[in-house]
């Protein structure tokens, strides 16, 4: 009878029927005669049968759907895996992804071309009257008179206008008048700011003939605007 160790090493081949007829008979005879090896043979067969009879595991999810989704993503958007692969081998995946990319590029370029036309020229900015906006005249001149302040002294009347009789004829209504006294003491302009303009003509004409000691700033004569409220009873001058 062959040794137990040799038999046990051959049990797997004996199970598969790989032993020649002679060695197979020897193993069978040993198993009939040796209870320990027979028990081992039975437990080995039982273990293998248990494994073979184990139910197959079932996947409840859609593997094919998941695979399909992944492949669709890969074919539509070339990923890093494509970059790492030879370009020629990856062409079945790259080329289909280029088609939508090219379509998107055409659409974007078309939109850019359509939307990038030159717009209608904007209407010219109205500049009428702007030519009168020249450099501002120096302050203290007749065209840019000063107002009375701590620095600017008020012109003093040297020759008052004979307006008493005129005012008596014009009634009770007061007149609000701006008089620009020039640097030489003459009246540059007289402007009616308030009052009946239809009646104020003679009054304004009389006021233009007034003469003043000119107003001064830092000792130098300057043109000054005087604002005066003139009525039959009172003459307020100067008013600022």
């Amino acid at each position: 009878m062959i040794a137990c160790g040799r038999v046990r090493r051959q049990l797997s081949s004996y199970m598969d029927g790989d032993l020649e007829a002679g060695p197979a008979r020897l193993v069978a005879a040993h198993l009939d005669a040796c209870p320990a090896c027979a028990a081992r043979w039975r437990s080995l067969r039982s273990a293998v049968e248990l494994l073979a009879e184990a139910p197959r595991l079932e996947c409840r999810d859609l593997i094919s759907a998941r695979v399909g989704d992944r492949l669709e993503v890969e074919t539509r958007s070339a990923g890093l895996a494509l970059i790492l692969r030879p370009t020629w081998k990856a062409r079945p995946l790259i080329f289909p992804s280029l088609i939508p990319a090219a379509a998107v590029l055409v659409v974007v370029l078309g939109l850019a071309f359509v939307l990038d036309r030159d717009p209608e020229p904007l209407p010219a900015v109205v500049t009428r009257g702007a030519e009168s906006w020249g450099p501002t005249a120096a302050s203290g001149t007749e065209s840019n008179p000063l107002f009375l302040s701590d620095e600017v002294s008020a012109p003093r009347v040297r020759t008052a206008a004979p307006i008493t009789d005129l005012l008596a004829a014009l009634g009770e209504e007061p007149f609000f008048v701006e008089t620009v006294v020039a640097r030489d003491g003459s009246v540059s302009t007289v402007t009616l700011l308030g009052g009946n303009s239809l009646q104020a003509g003679p009054l304004l004409e009389a006021l233009r003939h007034e003469r003043f000691e000119p107003g001064r700033r830092h000792g130098r004569p300057v043109a000054v605007s005087l604002y005066r409220l003139i009525s039959r009873t009172d003459v307020h001058a100067p008013v600022t």
Binding site: M15, V48, R56, L57, E58, C59, R60, L71, K89
Partner: protein, 210 residues
């Protein structure tokens, strides 16, 4: 079975697909999406079952099965037809699961087991796959056996587990296993002998066997 679920398919049912392989592979190489969908449907049960047994975790197996088919799609051009498509896919499954297990081990996700064993829900589902006429005791016994087998499998080394599953569950010959694992046939036979004995010990006393 509800739509969108996969039925249990015994390994024998896949044998009929072998005659379709040459035409199917050629269609897939030409970029026929429908042909690739048929290829996936033909092998997905086998791929998932093998991955789940190797990894011991249905969730991991689902991800692994997806990656395996993506790899099949990408590398189908290199398939030379020297083996059957099925054994070629088996090789991809085993290699992918081996790499996945190494990845987990590097991150210390496990101690003695590669990945956690089957969940109680998975065990219960396995127990219900027997004949309808079985009583509660038989279903309980079947559930215990399924749990014991899976638990014993996970105590084996990955290489022993792989050779056992390919031989006893998937029904490959030693020659086919040798082609799948890129090993000499003699090495496969000796490894299979040691793996069977390791499984016997694991089932007998529950000890870890390497």
């Amino acid at each position: 079975m509800a739509a969108g679920e996969f039925a249990l398919r015994p390994a024998e049912a896949l044998a009929g697909g072998a005659s379709l392989e040459p035409g199917l592979v050629e269609q897939c190489r030409r970029g026929d999406a429908q042909a690739f969908a048929r290829l996936v449907a033909l092998h997905e049960g086998m791929v998932f079952n093998l991955a789940a047994r190797l990894l011991g975790d249905p969730e991991e197996a689902r991800d692994a099965a997806q990656e395996v088919f993506l790899q099949v799609y990408r590398t189908l051009g290199r398939f030379e037809g020297r083996s059957t498509l099925k054994t070629w896919i088996y090789r991809i499954v085993v290699n992918h699961c081996r790499n996945r297990q190494r990845w987990w081990r590097r991150r210390r996700k496990d101690r003695s087991f590669p990945i956690e064993a089957l969940t109680p829900a998975e065990e219960a589902r396995l127990a219900e796959q027997g004949p309808r006429a079985d009583g509660p005791e038989e279903r309980l016994e079947r559930r215990e056996r399924a749990r014991a087998v899976q638990s014993a499998l996970l105590r084996l080394s990955f290489e022993h587990r792989a050779v056992l599953l390919l031989r006893e569950v998937e029904g490959l010959s030693c020659e086919e296993i040798a082609g799948t694992l890129s090993l000499p046939e003699g090495t496969v036979k000796s490894r299979l002998s040691r793996a069977r004995d390791a499984l016997r010990c694991a089932l007998a006393n529950g000890k870890e066997v390497r």
